[in-house]
């Protein structure tokens, strides 16, 4: 009796709470507060430069103004950068959506300081975008769902999405922040369409814009646009009006073109660092006879000496950007020929996938420190502040590709009955959920494939970010659906 009374009491309490704050608002507010504490309250958390900042920074009119910048590579987060006051000769060689955010942040920064750029301005911009994305995602899962399910989902969302392994990227010039935020937007927009929440046209616009920003943020993300466009075909049929269908088809076509366009630019901008690793830490490393493997690419067998070597080594035999390597090594292979090699040598591909799985569950690359030098922490020290989820994931996830396969099978198995039921009921909108989840899984897999083909086993935990993000978003949705009892039943309540 007392048990029932306390249950009733709790439900009444939750109901009255929901009048003031919905689960989605709670999740967004929780993520906001924790992110503010992490990024905007000393000691500020950010990411150290691993040498990648140079290109994106200088081409956007910023420069390193810290005197001992070189000695802080990998070790310490630096928050201030100079703004070019004169003509900038480092023009962007390639469009990246990341530049848009940096330019916008610089413009906002000029209201405060015209000469010194504070990366926290960019972090603030990302935080606002992120909060909205988290709100939309949680809303898609908790809208019209009993509050006793909604709030646990919101708390779960805070635990996952406020993790500093993700949010520390906002205080950096790595493209991962955009990738993560936009992935959440794409998925949230899709799920909201499935839930028939908000105006479909607005959601379509959100999906198009976030999909474009995601695809063009990094060259490695070219396949993402293509995947969204192809998997998104089922979105066309959720409404019967011609206007909607034309708009949706056009949006998907734009995403497809963006993907192809970004992919077409890869060969030119497939930077040496990744190209070097793709061979030395990928193909050669997996080969039983590197000399014979090199001959397949028409490369001099002497280059076998580079087997397993790393671009970042301080002392090397040859300058990794030297014309000799350019003429006799890099020029002999590209994305296509590496892909062909793995397709024709599936055994090697599986070995590499297993290797990739070892790093696929680390959100935070272990190489880069999170603190500013002035904080007095050790070189490369990383924060423990609100990183329970990422720590747990890195420690507990089985690090084999077999686990990834089981995870995918399980998720497809869980959603398949609902999908078949929707097909039988000929309800196009209700069919959406499985294709959306498959889209995310395919995006994650493409992240793994691109990182192996693109850079071998080097920097895997950073390159595999798309996988780790997709894994987390999908797993969150699955757990949320399990909490609200919607895995294989009740979809007619979700999507009437």
């Amino acid at each position: 009796m007392a048990n029932i009374r306390s249950k009733l009491h709790m439900e009444r309490g939750l109901a009255s709470l929901s009048r003031y704050v919905s689960p989605s608002l709670l999740a967004a507010a929780g993520v906001l507060i924790i992110t503010i504490m992490a990024l905007f309250v000393p000691p500020y958390i950010g990411m150290a430069d691993n040498g990648d900042y140079f290109r994106i920074l200088y081409s956007n009119g910023l420069y390193f103004n810290t005197p001992d910048y070189d000695s802080q590579y990998f070790g310490y987060f630096i928050k201030k950068f100079g703004i070019f006051q004169y003509f900038n000769e480092n023009q962007a060689s390639l469009f990246s959506s990341q530049s848009l955010f940096i330019k916008l942040s610089i413009w906002l920064n000029t209201f405060v300081d015209q000469q010194v750029f504070d990366v926290r301005v960019q972090a603030a911009l990302f935080t606002v975008l992120y909060i909205v994305a988290v709100y939309l995602l949680v809303e898609s899962l908790t809208w019209k769902v009993p509050v006793k399910y909604g709030y646990p989902i919101a708390i779960l969302a805070i635990f996952l999405f406020a993790d500093t392994a993700y949010t520390a990227y906002f205080n950096s010039f790595f493209g991962e922040s955009i990738v993560f935020i936009m992935m959440v937007y794409v998925f949230a927009a899709g799920l909201l369409m499935y839930r028939k929440r908000y105006n479909d046209y607005v959601l379509m616009a959100i999906m198009l814009v976030s999909g474009l920003l995601l695809t063009t943020s990094k060259q490695q993300n070219a396949p993402l646009g293509i995947i969204i466009a192809l998997m998104g075909i089922c979105l066309i049929f959720i409404r019967k009006e011609r206007k909607f269908r034309v708009c949706m088809a056009s949006s998907l076509a734009v995403l497809l073109l963006a993907g192809i366009g970004t992919y077409a630019l890869i060969p030119k901008e497939f930077v040496n660092i990744n190209k070097y690793h793709a061979m030395t830490r990928g193909i050669l490393m997996g080969s039983e006879d590197p000399e014979e493997t090199l001959s397949k690419f028409d490369i001099d067998k002497q280059y076998a000496i580079l087997n397993e070597s790393i671009y970042y080594e301080l002392y090397t035999t040859i300058d990794v950007d030297s014309p000799i390597l350019e003429d006799h090594f890099y020029n002999k292979y590209g994305f296509g020929s590496i892909l062909k090699y793995y397709v024709t040598h599936p055994g090697k591909a599986i070995d590499m996938l297993d290797l990739a799985a070892k790093s696929a569950f680390k959100i935070r690359p272990p190489a880069m420190g999170n603190y500013e030098k002035s904080v007095g922490k050790a070189f490369r020290e990383q924060t423990n502040f609100f990183s329970g989820y990422s720590t747990l994931k890195a420690a507990m996830a089985p690090k084999t590709f077999g686990f990834v396969v089981i995870w995918m099978t399980l998720i497809l198995g869980l959603y398949m009955p609902a999908f078949i039921a929707a097909v039988k009921a000929k309800n196009s909108r209700r069919m959406l959920r499985l294709p959306l989840i498959v889209t995310m899984i395919l995006m994650g897999l493409s992240g793994i494939a691109v990182s192996i083909i693109g850079a071998g086993d080097a920097d895997l935990s950073k390159h595999e970010f798309v996988f780790t993000a997709a894994f987390d978003i999908v797993t969150f949705v699955v757990v949320a659906d399990a909490i609200r009892r919607r895995l294989w039943s009740g979809q007619e309540l979700d999507s009437p």
């Binding site: 000695s71 000399e291 076998a304 002392y315 035999t317 040859i318 030297s322 070189f379």
Partner: protein, 520 residues
């Protein structure tokens, strides 16, 4: 005293005999190597400006290279940051004044210089009064234009110069000529412990001309020799072309040096063996092997103290293969960096210092590391820009080396060898001088054409061996209970197949029952 002389003569005889009989012991060679060791002269080099943006830019580098070639240890001090009392701790000071229009403002330096009693050499404008007085100098500023420099048998005409000081009148010994507007003036002056050069620019004859006067001022008596060196040699270079280079130089009677890039991993691979085989062959064709500094990555991580182990490891790889590295080749900034000098160069007492291309310091030092043997590196085109009164290029005051980047193809190689023959330069054999390379495992010495590794004379006659590509790159992992697991696998497969069949059977039966129940 006489006894000493006899002992030395006897020692030399023993050494020569030892070499002749092919049984020279390293310890004997080491004694001789030690015998020629001298404490390096320590020179303080003060400057007011690097002359960046002017024609003087780079002359400090040139001067540092010259001083290194004369075996001097150099400490550089910016006059603006001069600490009182520093001058008095040196016997030799060189002052460079590149800012012609800015008088010195550091009162401490001016006072110390007035009180300074040691040897002093001045370059550029703003000559200290006592130097002016001792050398009887009368100088003027020329407005620039076309000038001509000549020294020994070399001359360079049509040098475009910005406004420059020149010596109108001086007492003491003069060196070369600096011709401005048709009138010849002395290029340099020295008298007793003072010296003066009005004009020094990197890349023209003034660099070589300065060597003549500096040699006397530094009291170096050693006769300058010229060597021939090829750098940018990698394990990935065209090894056949390297062999042909060695053959052609050998046929032309030109001894040479190769500065080879070190390899720090996979040194047991067939590819590495082929590289070593080629180097050994080059050594047998009268080539001397030097170890080039590795490439330093621009994104520098602060924690890496592996340089010494890496360099010594590579020396050992070479030595174990019968190749005797005799020195180290590096850009000059390496000798001005504590870490590079101590960890990356200390295994050798001989070096070739190339002009700086891209300095990437890790622990910058004001004081250079001095080497017992250090060569002034220059390209053949540098020497070719000078007219000479004799067919042959005269021997230079310092030990120098004509440096080539290794060639891309046979055509480039042929052209270079032809140019070398046309230059009439007499090249010396590097291993005829005393050089010593030491690691915890190996001790390599050269003297008078013989090389010994750990006391064993290196056989300099070697033919190329074919290196087989057969190599086990990956050790097969040790497997235990292989048979047991194989049997277990088979059992499991059978069980799974049987289970699936039974399951399938049940499924079909169940489906039929279902159909019978509802579709009657």
């Amino acid at each position: 005293m006489a006894g000493c002389k006899y002992i030395k003569v006897a020692l030399i005889l023993v050494v020569t005999l030892g070499i002749w009989m092919g049984s020279t012991s390293a310890s004997v060679l080491a004694v001789d190597a030690d015998a020629v060791k001298e404490k390096p002269k320590h020179v303080l080099l003060t400057y007011d400006s690097y002359g960046i943006g002017t024609s003087r830019q780079g002359n400090m580098d040139a001067l540092q290279q010259l001083l290194a070639a004369f075996g001097a240890q150099v400490t550089i001090v910016d006059i603006d940051r001069y600490q009182p009392g520093t001058l008095q701790t040196y016997d030799k000071v060189i002052g460079v004044h590149n800012a012609y229009d800015l008088p010195l403002s550091n009162a401490d330096y001016i006072a110390d210089l007035e009180a300074y009693k040691g040897d002093y050499f001045h370059i550029g404008a703003m000559i200290p009064p006592q130097v002016k007085a001792k050398l009887g100098l009368q100088t003027q500023m020329a407005s620039g234009g076309t000038i001509r420099i000549s020294i020994d048998k070399l001359q360079q005409t049509f040098i475009q110069a910005e406004p420059l000081p020149y010596v109108q009148k001086a007492t003491g010994r003069t060196y070369g000529e600096l011709t401005i507007g048709g009138t010849a003036y002395p290029f340099a002056v020295s008298h007793e412990k003072y010296g003066y050069i009005p004009y020094l620019k990197q890349g023209n004859l003034s660099e070589i001309a300065a060597a003549y006067v500096l040699k006397d001022w530094l009291e170096v008596s050693h006769k300058g020799r010229t060597y021939l060196l090829f750098k940018e040699v990698y394990p990935f270079s065209d090894l056949n072309l390297l062999e042909r280079l060695a053959d052609q130089l050998h046929e032309a009677g030109l001894p040479f040096m190769v500065s080879v890039r070190p390899v720090f991993s996979n040194t047991d691979y067939p590819a590495m063996k082929r590289y070593l085989e080629t180097l050994k062959y080059m050594q047998s064709r009268n080539g001397s092997i030097l170890i080039n500094a590795p490439v330093v990555a621009s994104t520098i991580s602060v924690q890496d103290d592996t340089l010494q182990a890496k360099m010594e490891g590579f020396v050992d790889v070479l030595a174990d293969y019968g190749i005797a590295p005799l020195g180290v080749g590096a850009e000059m900034y390496w000798s001005y960096d504590h870490l590079y000098a101590e960890q990356g160069m200390s295994f050798s007492n001989s070096a070739v210092l190339y002009p700086n291309e891209q300095a990437s310091y890790r622990s910058r030092s004001d004081t250079s590391k001095a080497f017992q043997s250090s060569l002034f590196s220059m390209s053949l085109s540098f020497m070719d820009q000078f007219d000479r009164s004799s067919k042959a290029i005269p021997p230079l005051p310092m030990d120098s080396v004509i440096t080539f980047d290794f060639f891309k193809d046979q055509a480039q190689l042929d052209t270079a060898i032809q140019n070398l023959l046309d230059s009439w330069i007499t090249f010396s054999d590097y291993k005829y001088e005393s050089h010593e390379v030491k690691t915890p495992r190996n001790h390599i010495v050269s003297y008078k054409g013989a090389i010994a590794i750990n006391g064993q004379r290196v056989d300099l006659g070697s033919a190329i061996k074919d290196i087989s590509s057969d190599y086990t790159y990956k050790e097969e992992q040790q497997k235990s209970f292989e048979k047991l697991f194989n049997v277990q696998n088979k059992i499991f497969i059978i069980i799974i197949i049987i289970t699936l069949m039974v399951f399938g059977g049940f499924f079909i039966v169940g489906y039929r029952l279902y159909k019978r129940k509802y579709y009657k």
